[in-house]
């Protein structure tokens, strides 16, 4: 039996008069790896922002691991085990790679109010584990702000992985990466999902990546879910072809 780790019911969001999220119902099973697709402005990022507390929904309910988290601020959502990586890498530019990851580990350990302990001795193992997992050990002492674009996105993912989250949201994890970097990043995501049983939800514009790495797809259009299902089902759907997939010549 695999219970739903995430359940979303009747989620609504308006910005001014614009209806950006229209009564979305959505669920994820523990261990699932899915993608949200849709044209620009479909509401993918807003949906993730609503789930992680960056925006407050106007209506609806978000339940994570049996607990309602609707409207909680981002830091409280994060503490419950939901992590996210951003489309534009959002890192700590004037700290080293290792310090970036270690600070994330400390936040997850709730050690951030330890005033007199040495930061260099807390969460070191977990930091090393995450750096190794993401293949960034050799870059650990470089300043994050001075990394190449692809490495910044890698670090973005590493920060999100610190402290073993249960649910990971990835907003265009391969945007701005070379083909080689994108391939190895998605391989890492697959491994996290397979070996560590991490539940993953990602958005992506590259349909090749989507169809290869997601076992279930949700197509958003104008804030509403058009179709949900396996890649084959979505591909066969006429509306999906019309509003989105058609552009990608599949």
């Amino acid at each position: 039996m695999s219970a739903n780790i995430l359940e979303v019911a009747g989620l609504e969001k308006h910005f001014g008069g614009v209806h950006v999220t229209c009564s979305i119902n959505f669920a994820m099973q523990e261990g699932e790896q899915s993608a949200i697709i849709g044209p620009n402005g479909a509401g993918k990022s807003t949906f993730m922002n609503l789930l992680t507390g960056y925006h407050r929904p106007d209506a609806g309910k978000v339940v994570f691991a049996g607990e309602e988290i609707t409207g909680l601020p981002p830091h409280q959502v994060a503490r419950r085990g939901i992590s996210r990586a951003f489309q534009v890498s959002s890192i700590f530019g004037r700290m080293t790679v290792a310090e970036n990851v270690r600070a994330a580990v400390h936040a997850q350990m709730r050690a951030t109010f330890r005033l007199f302990a040495s930061a260099h001795r807390i969460g070191v193992e977990e930091t090393g584990r995450v750096l190794a997992l993401c293949g960034m050990e050799r870059k650990r002492d470089l300043m994050a702000g001075e990394l190449a674009q692809g490495d910044k996105k890698r670090l973005e993912l590493a920060i999100a992985l610190a402290g073993r989250p249960r649910l990971l949201f990835l907003d265009e994890p391969t945007a701005g990466m070379s083909i080689e970097e994108a391939r190895s990043t998605m391989e890492l995501v697959d491994r996290l999902n397979r070996e560590l049983k991490l539940t993953v939800l990602f958005t992506e514009h590259d349909m090749g990546i989507v169809f290869n790495h997601a076992r279930r797809l949700t197509l958003l259009h104008r804030g509403a879910i058009i179709v949900q299902g396996t890649p084959a089902e979505v591909r066969a759907n006429e509306t999906a072809q019309k509003v989105y997939l058609g552009e990608h010549h599949l």
Binding site: T52, Y54, P73, P74, H75, Q76, A78, R79, S83, R84, F86, S90, I91, F92, G93, R94, M95, T96, E99, R102, A103, A104, H106, A107, Q108, R110, A111, T112, F113, R114, L115, F116, A117, S118, A119, H120, I122, G123, R138, D141, I159, A162, G163
Partner: protein, 351 residues
């Protein structure tokens, strides 16, 4: 030429472990120890001022260099600490104006907690904002406190200030008071350094670099900012407590924006990236002021020009320049040896 080439042993290891703070702090401490050996009381007096204002500036830098927020009202806590000590001092001294050593020490202890309390109240509002809005709110609160102290004659003696804060005979000796101040400032630097190297200290750096992301890691941004605001206020209060007995009086100007500006200037000059940067800034600022004022009345023009040059050509302050040189030299050395040595922990540039 580099520190590595000169002395591959202790200094290089200190740098690798603590960034510039380690070697610079030890060097400065050694030089500070020697100051009273200079002939005449003048330099000892200047040295005491350097230490007290340096501590004040270092407390400001907990907000600026580590949390990335600039406060134009930090002197409020320096002044509140000074007044708390001055008032207790006045209450405890004999009608003849004398005070015993225990009473003197007790009055010093009053400064930091009262300053911290003021910081808790003011910080509660200020940490809701960031950037220029944070700066403006701290300025507004600082000026509010200044006017309260300035106009509340019955309680604070208003613009007359509080006079006659003559310390016990032992501390009237300028060298004794100097070493007493040096001991307190050294202890304060050590505690502040521990805090900046703790998980809390690195969490502050994440707030400096990227508040939104820090929140998504599970950090409650406001409570961490408030805690740091209170800590910075408390250390400003330590400096304030020392100021009264040092200058034998306190006045409302200690809370004003001019005094807050001194902390900003010292930090910009010395460098915000290391814990002792503002202390170095205090050495330069105070010495420059002492010398310039001997010869001209154009001190504001002088310090203005210095700040202009620093901001334009050395945005990391003096320590920022030195740190860049050392990094470059070490990078060159590593390229030759192929040894990926550990980098320094201090970030050189201000926000």
């Amino acid at each position: 030429m580099s520190a590595t080439a000169d002395s591959p042993g202790l200094w290089s290891r200190l740098y690798a472990a603590y960034g510039l703070s380690g070697p610079v702090a030890m060097l400065m401490f050694a030089l500070f120890l020697l100051v009273p050996l200079l002939p005449g009381e003048f330099w000892t007096h200047v040295g005491t001022e350097v230490l007290i204002l340096g501590l004040f500036a270092m407390s400001f830098n907990l907000l600026y260099g580590y949390m990335g927020q600039i406060s134009f009202g930090h002197a409020a806590f320096f002044g509140v600490g000074a007044y708390a000590t001055a008032m207790l001092f006045t209450a405890l001294k004999t009608p003849a104006g004398q005070i015993g050593i225990p009473q003197f020490l007790a009055s010093l202890l009053a400064g930091p907690p009262v300053a911290a309390l003021a910081a808790l109240v003011i910080g509660f509002f200020c940490v809701r904002l960031t950037g220029i809005y944070f700066a403006m709110l701290t300025l507004a609160f600082g000026e509010m406190l200044f006017y309260i102290v300035f106009s509340w004659y019955s309680f604070t003696k208003g613009d007359d200030g509080i006079q006659g804060l003559l310390p016990p005979p032992f501390f009237q000796d300028s060298a004794n008071f100097y070493y007493f101040t040096l001991a307190i400032v050294t202890a304060a630097v050590f505690v502040m350094w521990r805090i900046t190297e703790s998980p809390f200290g690195y969490t502050l750096r994440t707030l400096r670099d990227n508040q939104r992301r820090a929140a998504f890691l599970g950090t409650n941004v406001r409570t961490h900012m408030l805690a740091n605001f209170v800590i910075a206020g408390a250390f400003a209060g330590v400096a304030g407590a020392l100021w009264g007995p040092f200058s034998r009086s306190v006045n409302p100007g200690l809370l004003g924006w001019g005094e807050s500006g001194i902390a900003v200037f010292m930090t910009l000059i010395g460098g915000a990236g290391a814990i002792v940067g503002p202390l170095l800034g205090s050495v330069i600022y105070t010495l420059l002021q002492a010398v310039v004022k001997m010869y001209t009345v154009y001190w504001p023009l002088t310090i203005g020009s210095v700040i202009l040059l620093i901001v334009l050509f050395a945005p990391g302050g003096i320590l920022g320049i030195v740190d860049r040189r050392i990094r470059a030299a070490r990078a060159e050395g590593e390229a030759k040896e192929g040894d990926p040595g550990a980098g320094p922990r201090d970030a050189p540039a201000p926000p």
